[in-house]
Symmetry: C2
Subunit: 899 residues, 2 copies
Amino acid sequence: MQKYVYDFTEGDRTMSDLLGGKGANLAEMTRLGLPVPPGFTITTEACKAYMAAGTEPAGMAEQVAVHLAATESRVGRKFGDPTDPLLVSVRSGAKFSMPGMMETVLNIGLNDETIKGLAAATGSERFAWDSYRRLIQMFGKTVLGLEAHLFEDVLDGQKAKSGAKSDVDLDVDDLKAVVDGYKAVVLEHSGIEFPQDVREQMNRAIMAVFDSWNTDRAKLYRRQERISEDLGTAVNICTMVFGNRGDSSGTGVAFTRDPASGNPGEYGDWLANAQGEDVVAGIRNTLKLSDMSDYMPTVHDELIAVMRKLEAHYRDLCDIEFTVEDGKLWMLQTRVGKRTPAAAFRIAVQLVEEGVITLDEALNRVTGKQLVNLMFPRFAEGHGAPLLGKGISASPGAAVGICAFSSARAVEFAATGKKVILVRRETNPDDLAGMMASVGILTSRGGKTSHAAVVARGMGKTAVCGADELLVEGDRFTTASGQVVGEGDVIGIDGTTGEVFLGDVAVTDSAVTQYLDGQLSDAQIAADPLVHAVDVIIRHADSVRRMGVRANADTDEDAARARRMGAAGIGLARTEHMFLGSRRELVERLVLAQDQASIQHVYDALLPLQIGDFTGILREMDGLPVVIRLLDPPLHEFLPNHTDLSVRVALAEARGEVDSKDVELLKAVERMHESNPMLGLRGVRLGIMFPGLFGLQVRAIAEAMAIRLLEGGHPHPEVMVPLVATVAELEPVRNEALAIIAEVEAKHGVTLEIPIGTMIELPRAALTAHRIARAAEFFSFGTNDLTQTTWGFSRDDVEASFVGEYLDRGIFGTSPFESIDPYGVGELVKIAIEKGRSVRPDISLGVCGEHGGDPTSIHFFEEAGLDYVSCSPFRVPVARLEAGRATLASHGTRHSDTR
Amino acid sequence: MQKYVYDFTEGDRTMSDLLGGKGANLAEMTRLGLPVPPGFTITTEACKAYMAAGTEPAGMAEQVAVHLAATESRVGRKFGDPTDPLLVSVRSGAKFSMPGMMETVLNIGLNDETIKGLAAATGSERFAWDSYRRLIQMFGKTVLGLEAHLFEDVLDGQKAKSGAKSDVDLDVDDLKAVVDGYKAVVLEHSGIEFPQDVREQMNRAIMAVFDSWNTDRAKLYRRQERISEDLGTAVNICTMVFGNRGDSSGTGVAFTRDPASGNPGEYGDWLANAQGEDVVAGIRNTLKLSDMSDYMPTVHDELIAVMRKLEAHYRDLCDIEFTVEDGKLWMLQTRVGKRTPAAAFRIAVQLVEEGVITLDEALNRVTGKQLVNLMFPRFAEGHGAPLLGKGISASPGAAVGICAFSSARAVEFAATGKKVILVRRETNPDDLAGMMASVGILTSRGGKTSHAAVVARGMGKTAVCGADELLVEGDRFTTASGQVVGEGDVIGIDGTTGEVFLGDVAVTDSAVTQYLDGQLSDAQIAADPLVHAVDVIIRHADSVRRMGVRANADTDEDAARARRMGAAGIGLARTEHMFLGSRRELVERLVLAQDQASIQHVYDALLPLQIGDFTGILREMDGLPVVIRLLDPPLHEFLPNHTDLSVRVALAEARGEVDSKDVELLKAVERMHESNPMLGLRGVRLGIMFPGLFGLQVRAIAEAMAIRLLEGGHPHPEVMVPLVATVAELEPVRNEALAIIAEVEAKHGVTLEIPIGTMIELPRAALTAHRIARAAEFFSFGTNDLTQTTWGFSRDDVEASFVGEYLDRGIFGTSPFESIDPYGVGELVKIAIEKGRSVRPDISLGVCGEHGGDPTSIHFFEEAGLDYVSCSPFRVPVARLEAGRATLASHGTRHSDTR
């Protein structure tokens, strides 16, 4: 006979697969000799058997009876005993806590008979009837699925009838009437009488917990969180203890350290003469845990001792629930406590310094996501700016700028050097230019998965979305109070809280950012406990990580910042921005050129500019590798928009004014128009179809290297060819590059070692990596494009149309643009690594897509065996941290490691 | 010591890797005892060693000397002997014959001394000097790389000086002067004297053959034909025999059957008293081989006997070169002969009927490409229409229609039911609609790889390109003779010959097409030898092939034609055309609908139309499977073009006339605009984002099946979901479909077995096929889209921009849209097959991309193990043939099989 029921005395905390998180920890506390009310746990196996068969498994009822009897004998009361009944709680307890599942039914065991015994045993008839009405209410709601308002209506009706202001003003007769009313609700809306059989009460509660595993909300949550459908939930049945039996009773929740700040010392809230739900509901103001020593000093001391024991045992911050019944302390729950990002860093380092955990363990207890949070700029404390409204915190940070109500205006303002907040009812892909030009985005519609939110997070821009009290119309918005804010007015948005302020709110870099940017002295680091903690952990991450961390940086300013942030080189220097601004006109000339001489003129004009670009970056990254990607986007991206230009020309013609340059340009734009430019003439194809273009760039790189060498520097440029699908494309580009490098070597009398490699950003490149590796000294995975082609969707288009809906429906757990898709894109990465190394074992392998800065993806890349990740400068510290964590995860944390 | 030289007596025809094709066949003929002039072959290994080291391998010269001595003793003359010199030819001979390589130098062994011996031995001084000047000319051109005109100038000068009309009018002194002139040319332009050392002549010729392996033209040819760079070429050194030594001498080329018509009986051309180059140059009119019996009956009979022996030995059509020297027959070359498509079919079946080869072998000797050729429509013989000009035969067939000079006009004309020829200077992707609307395309610019040519071949439309005598301007073109052809005038274009005719030239289906379309009686089939041959072979292909052949057909007319062409069902019925025409307006209403009721109205209107669509197709394909693909293209494809509409609205606004419907439509178009629609909201994404749309189609399919069942039919529809990237997309669509099918079953009281499957057309679908197969009863590979995403390019865009250039440069051997790319796309197909079968061993696997009708790709699919291919109805016979050939290729031809 399979064992489906475990007494709290039989399990331990390692058994969360079988007993759920709550049950395992109750067993652990029992094992430690802490005062846990007797009880038992029905296993997840029972739940799985129930789900498979649709009925409870054979033998489970008998096992429950045996363990109930054991609990009865331990407590000295009997379940259903009309003279002094044992009451129990029934709680769900899956391995991972999950919203959408049934949680708790208290006071099971009360009926029209046992209530008399409870009243007699406790000496309080009111207490007994209040307990009974709570049971019926909870049972009705969670077991029978009745709507909450049905019970609230009865209670409110009784209060009105009795003139009671609050629940506590109801007397015994009122509560009896409420119980009658509740019973009538149950009968009317569920078709059954409230069960008087106490075992039926318990059984129905157990089955309700099982069933709640499969509610739509629970299933959706599991899909989104990638929790297996097969785990099932356990059920905990625990003797009731009451914190509401007078002034020597009470209840509370506490943490072994402050989970908000990370300050040391126990921290919590409690209430005398109350039940848990009273603490949560906030009906009465709770007291601080430290105050408890004034009310019940012995129990307080016992509780503190228990908490210290738990923290020492769990070697981490613990979060507990306790009840004091008639001066007796009972522990109802414990778990490793949730905490803020700041607390996570501080507590981890405190525990290291207290000798409790190792540095490896400390590193494992913080995340890159938490570090990102600590790096957001914030509004200065007490800034006093007036609040205009509040929306959803869509993308964190704090941003201040002037309002622009269209993408075009945002771009215009930004071009004049102004900081802009783009304000829109909602955004769509046409707003991308405006979003890029802005420091923050505010919308009045849409949630965390709206276009604005998803794109802003992708860009790392602050965003507040769905601020629906703000009415956006034309070039203004109106607040709930009627205040009008127009174009050019200054506002501040807080992407962490969702608040919108009027005026130039002061924004500051966080201390952690200042530290990571190298602005703090050792003394300043030591003086700030949070910065100290970040310092200890990130230095440890650097010491353990296997992968290198480089930055994606296109300018010397970005390169300098990346270096301060700890980047060991540049993994991706894009060159397209070098063809924008005043140089755009050169691209127009290139496209319109009719003969080789005109083309050469353009190249001649570009060469010194490109040499300057590359020399600057190589100077900032002296001594470190700089991977420069040759021009990638289609040339028509540098030309005017087709529709805009068509309209302009048509209107001019209608007026009889024809601008011949516009007409010529329109012809060129139409000639070069592509229905799917992402899949068109770009990357290496451009290099092949416009002879000399890549050569120009390679020459500029070689010249810049020569200049730096002659200046006494240590330049390490690498040439990266984008969008290669076949080695037959790479070979001619490589051969041309080698010839040009040799020319420049001869010209300056220097040796130029410039590795030539390629992006792996097309499925075919990954699948034929063993062929491509013959002509490539390095691979850099472009996981943005690889995701687009592997899934067959364009990021801009799908984020505008269906990503939000896919996330909501659980088709995506995470957007594949946020974290690498391990089964599709990741599989191609693994294939390419294996095939690439098979012909060139020492090939350098990195990633320069945005996944390079995403924690989940970094762990994937560690397992896949990449040599380095490259990400935006701001993400470099996150990548350093996560690369360290990933190394530990792949090798197992070294528990023997001490500081 | 490696053996680098083989006497003709040492090899055989199986040794073409080592001896090249020509050498192996010379050895084979020698082995058969046929009269081959003595000689020897230097191996491809020697060539490879030469290329690796840059110098001839050690020992080769000695081996050449040994074999030369053996040849001398066999012939009884000595190389370089001034009294009676042995002369030799040096010819290249790679495994595959290759344009761009050096071919032949004759008469090696002549110098200022040996010429006297030759004159004495042959008794003709003129013959000797003519031979000498030919040697210097060929040596100068092919060994020293001098330009041909240098020698022609000397010869022409001498003819002018002597008043000679042709070469034969030059006397001995003239020829001596020519020799002097040639020697001067050699010295002046190569810097060396023409070598008098005969071994130097031979050595230089050998090295020149080796070097010619690596000319740019040869390399490009190998890249394009995917011939390995490593093969190298052999060199054949053969005793000279002379067909120009009087009336008992002669030379000719012949075939064992007529290679043009396939008619039985030997067939060839010859000339008395001539050398091979005279036959080729066409200076004198050649005689028929049969006439030879009048001139030299014994030799003729001997030759016929040799040819019969060769055909019996090679068991195939042989192509020979022979020379008769003083009444003695010499065989200079043989190989399996090239032939026309018609001859290929006829000869193969003749050989079967003569008991020479098996049906399997016959099937192996014809190709789908040849069958395609036999199926092209053609202009009726003797049509007499005036020829306007001639271009490149870009895409075969014959088409007649009225001229349209813009894509828009072509579409307009076609909409009124007219047949249109689109005439353009050149085409670009904006012309696609016009190309689709036309029956043929004529351009005045561009070659076989121009946009027009590539796209036309892809569409199977007749095209003539680069007809540069036709001046296309505005809405007319002018011929070389000044004739003007304007819009609406009728022309005919022959894509097989490149000819352009004026007027309504009569076009007929070929007899083979009539046969394949089921229009011929058994008697008619038997009466036409070509049709008979096609019938024998295609029936044999059907009997041996493992894969099924289905058709891509969207209408009942197409379905009926496909069935006549031999399709065993429909592999792809697209449904997008069912939303065009008058139904387009319903899609506009769907897109503009603001509420569920309006959407439902559209669905209600579409349902009976869709039921009608599907009932018709199921009726035509009664008893056979019909795979119906749910709607695939983005909905905005059914809306007006963004730029056109923007211009229309802007112009209307400028005139103060605002069409509110246009404005509303423009907003919708802008809202739905996608920058890369191929990667946007389409396929299954559409089904998920527009709830009810796929449900409507599934309901129509189920209703149509029920109708057919109740009519007593045998309908077998299957539902195919497009563009699935993850099983999480397929599952909800599948579940909805199953529910709807159950509803329709209940409504009609019938059982509807409708398999539900998916396209595999995204890399991710292939990579996660083991997950997707859990929810799919069949896979159909959409290799068009799979090629686009695997390579990261859009067919329309790249065919307009770089495919031509990529083919020219050899980056593509074949366009991956024409034949499946085995290393990238093919690898994904194999991965998906393996993963799909791993979880569902009986999963049905097919392909419905255009590769399904491409011979090369069909062989790939056979090897990969697909169950069927599906292609356009016209391609079905080709696929039947090639699937049969592919089965034989994968299992090895069964030589024991006889008719």
